[in-house]
C-alpha cells in the first residue's frame, strides 16, 4: 500500500527567508503523481504544486519549487521569500496513475511564518 510520510510536524521560518518541507513516500509503482496542498485556518485545501513522476524536471510555481528524487522516493517543497500568508498546514499527497482518484495524504506540516 502506498504511504506518505511527513516527518516534520511543525516548522517555522522568518519572513523573506527560505524553508524546505520534507515528504517521503512508499510505492512499488513507476507512474504516479505527487502534490503539495496548503490548508490555511479557513480549512480549504489549496493546490500549491504538482509533479508527474515521469518528468525529470522539478516543478516550480512562482516562489514554490520541489526537489523530486524518484529513486529516493522523496518530494520536498521549498518556499522562497516566505510571506505571512504562507502560514498554514502543508500536506504532501500521492496518487497512482492507475488510480481513479484515491489520493494518499501525509499527516501534514504546520508552517509558522515569523514577522
Amino acid at each position: 500500500a502506498q504511504t506518505v510520510t511527513q516527518s516534520q510536524p511543525e516548522m517555522s521560518v522568518q519572513e523573506a527567508e527560505t524553508v524546505t518541507l520534507s515528504c517521503t513516500y512508499d510505492t512499488s509503482e513507476s507512474d504516479y503523481y505527487l502534490f503539495w496542498y496548503k490548508q490555511p485556518p479557513s480549512r480549504q485545501m489549496i493546490l500549491v504544486i504538482r509533479q508527474e513522476a515521469y518528468k525529470q524536471q522539478n516543478a516550480t510555481e512562482n516562489r514554490f519549487s520541489v526537489n523530486f528524487q524518484k529513486a529516493a522516493k522523496s518530494f520536498s517543497l521549498k518556499i522562497s521569500d516566505s510571506q505571512l500568508g504562507d502560514a498554514a498546514m502543508y500536506f504532501c499527497a500521492y496518487r497512482s496513475a492507475s488510480s481513479r482518484g484515491d489520493m494518499r495524504f501525509g499527516a501534514g506540516t504546520r508552517l509558522t511564518v515569523k514577522p
Binding site: Q44, M45, I46, S99, R100, D102, F105, G108
Partner: protein, 112 residues
C-alpha cells in the same frame, strides 16, 4: 468562475442519526471525490463519483454512501452516526477521474 462549494459549513448530530452533505463541483468538472479529515490528520479518501457511478472506494464502511446527479453535484450520506465520524468532510472535483483535484471549504461534522 465558481470554485467547489459545499453545504452546510457546520453540522451537529447525535449518535445514531443520519446526515447528508452536499457538494457542487467547479465549473467544467465532472468528477467528485469525498475525503474525511479527522482533527490533526491528513484527509482520507472515501469514494469518487464519475458519470453518476461510484468508481473507486476507500476503506470506509457501507454506512458511508453517496450519489452523483446529472449536473455533476454530489451528496455524501452517513448512516448510524458514531462519535468517531466527527471530522471535516472535504469534497474535491476534477475535470476527469484522473485529473488534479480541487477542494471545497469542507463541512465540519460534530457527532455528540
Amino acid at each position: 468562475d465558481a470554485g467547489v462549494t459545499q453545504s452546510p459549513t457546520h453540522l451537529i448530530k447525535t449518535r445514531g442519526q443520519q446526515v447528508t452533505l452536499r457538494c457542487s463541483p467547479k465549473s467544467g468538472h465532472d468528477t467528485v471525490s469525498w475525503y474525511q479529515q479527522a482533527l490533526g490528520q491528513g484527509p482520507q479518501f472515501i469514494f469518487q463519483y464519475y458519470e453518476e457511478e461510484e468508481r473507486q472506494r476507500g476503506n470506509f464502511p457501507d454506512r458511508f454512501s453517496g450519489h452523483q446527479f446529472p449536473n455533476y453535484s454530489s451528496e455524501l450520506n452517513v448512516n448510524a452516526l458514531l462519535l468517531g465520524d466527527s471530522a471535516l468532510y472535504l469534497c474535491a472535483s476534477s475535470r476527469t477521474e484522473q485529473e488534479t483535484q480541487y477542494f471545497g471549504p469542507g463541512t465540519r461534522l460534530l457527532v455528540l
